[in-house]
Subunit: 346 residues, 2 copies
């Protein structure tokens, strides 16, 4: 059955489309009997006003875009979930686009969202993004952008982040306080900023505890996967048989380390403590369970939408957006891959 | 900076908006010099045509809706990823909505998507949906719906599914062929159909191998979580100390079983084989790794979009949609929680 239009209703009732439209909107200059006839027919034919046309009139689409590096990823799934939850409360719908860490995709997606006249965009940078002109173009067109998780200081927009440096400092400090003296760090590539910040946090914790920084304890991995962690664990043990702690950039890598240490008959946490980052669901089910830093994806998603909504409203009032930076707190989740704080130091 | 409109351009150039519009569309009745002036100014001001207005003219939004029960879920994340990938190829954008298995949410979401005039909807039923009037309403309005994964035979629409019965039959058959004689089955609640079908598949495999069906070997769990599996494993062992196989409705439950059996010092797979369902990423990293049925989420998502696109095109041509049912093949992934096919039977 084709969609019922205003014209159909008008034709059936022998009225003008303008009269039908006014009747549906309860205009006072239409008599009550006509209104009744129009509404009854509209309901029986399941008539719904054309929302594209409505959007045009209100100059808002009530749709936002969410650009995400990777959909099949526990942390980003949580972000999506948080954004959608917060958007629903404000009757906004969310278009989701994935960059797969590609700068070209990111540019293309922003253009597609602009073409659809979304009311705002939430963006986490792809690892390969080093220019920001495409983002400035969106902002210049009057579409607010809020960056989350992977951001750039060079873009003048609101941002929702965690303090990676502080979180990594706390993670390393926790390893030290539970007795670790020789801690290896598995980090990501030179980009993005998160990798650099977690590395700095690690170094700062060593410095604070007068542990000299040893560059041979730093292991770089590109893909940040389970199998990379699995591979690197062997290398760490070969290079440093007396290592007593490993702090990995992300849980998946840490779980690879756990698995390899278990195969090498190295007891975790008694010989080597392992600390992850992110608090993926699977950290609760590994053997032993993984101590990690909780990175609150759901909360970050919710907050990112709320800030975007605020910016959209500011712009609608004809006011200027004053970008703000919101930090979502992280915390350590102690599980069984580290010693207890009360345990005697080694 | 506010968005540049056609009116702005016209005012700056001293032309009528109609002339500017025609110039941008390269109409032959506008002289070349005027076209050049208009295009240069439009480019320098980063002018982009209003896509809502365009959508109105074309009577299509190039947006589809994807209604999903749960976003933070490996299988559904893969579905989202597949849908978005396929949609991008056709220049469609995807609005994602989550039902959290609530019928009320499902109804509301379909209404919201209708109000936005999406071109089509992909829908996996919430577990609590037992009426389908809300779906028929969407279809009656001329918006094609394609159901995926959790479907109803009572809705006249295209569907993309796996054969749960066959997949569960194969999983049970595999356990039997690797030597299991007494296999417990952990199933979900009475709804949805997937639970019933996997249970039937299990029973059929027993029957085929002349193993009598023992209802005390069936364990029902509502929430299908790790902790439910963990709890039920103990019960299974208490009730049936001689059980030698467990086939769980989903990986998460199976992984809970693995964990508990390990704590009970029951060797997997030598004493008890464990088989999951879905092939979540984490099945590769448990100890032992989990044998399971691969449920191809990404492919299902891609296919679901393609079928929807075909249905949208059919409708656009003024033809009637002839619903089709597409089955995506599944297969067993043997890992270390089951014995090898070549191993001697117990």
């Amino acid at each position: 059955m084709p969609k019922t239009t205003l014209k159909h209703l008008a034709k059936i009732l022998g009225l003008s489309p303008a009269t039908v439209s006014k009747a549906l909107k309860n205009y006072p200059d239409i008599n009550e009997n006509t209104k009744k006839r129009v509404i009854e027919l509209a309901e029986s034919l399941n008539y719904q006003p054309n929302s594209l046309a409505q959007g045009l009139r209100n100059k808002e689409s009530k749709i936002i875009g969410l650009v995400i590096p990777e959909i099949v990823h526990h942390f980003f799934s949580n972000i999506i979930s948080g954004v959608i939850k917060a958007a629903e409360k404000r009757d906004y719908l969310v278009i989701i686009l994935q960059t797969n860490e590609s700068f070209e995709q990111e540019k293309l997606h922003l253009k597609r969202l602009m073409d659809k006249n979304v009311d705002g965009i939430l963006l986490s940078l792809s690892d390969n993004t080093t220019q920001y002109k495409h983002i400035k173009q969106v902002i210049d067109r009057g579409i607010p952008v809020v960056m989350y998780d992977k951001i750039s200081k060079l873009v003048h927009a609101s941002k929702v982040i965690i303090d990676d440096q502080k979180a990594a400092f706390n993670a390393t400090q926790y390893l030290i306080e539970t007795g670790c003296k020789k801690i290896a760090h598995i980090r990501g590539d030179l980009k993005p900023q998160t990798t650099i910040d977690r590395f700095i946090g690690y170094k700062k914790a060593l410095a604070k505890n007068n542990i000299p920084f040893d560059p041979t304890l730093i292991y770089k991995c590109k893909s940040l996967t389970f199998s990379e962690g699995f591979k690197i664990a062997k290398k760490i043990i070969n290079d440093h048989p007396d290592v007593d702690g490993v702090f990995a950039f992300t849980d998946l890598v840490a779980i690879g380390v756990l698995k390899r240490l278990s195969e090498l008959n190295i007891s975790v946490p008694n010989q080597v403590s392992v600390m992850g980052f992110s608090d993926w669901f699977l950290t609760k089910i590994t053997t032993p369970t993984l101590s990690t830093v909780h990175q609150p994806g759901f909360e970050m998603g919710q907050k990112a939408f709320e800030v975007l909504y605020k910016d959209i409203c500011t712009l609608k009032k004809g006011q200027k957006i004053i970008p703000e930076i919101i930090e979502i707190p992280t915390y350590i989740v102690p599980r069984n891959s580290t010693l207890k704080l009360l345990d005697k130091p080694r």
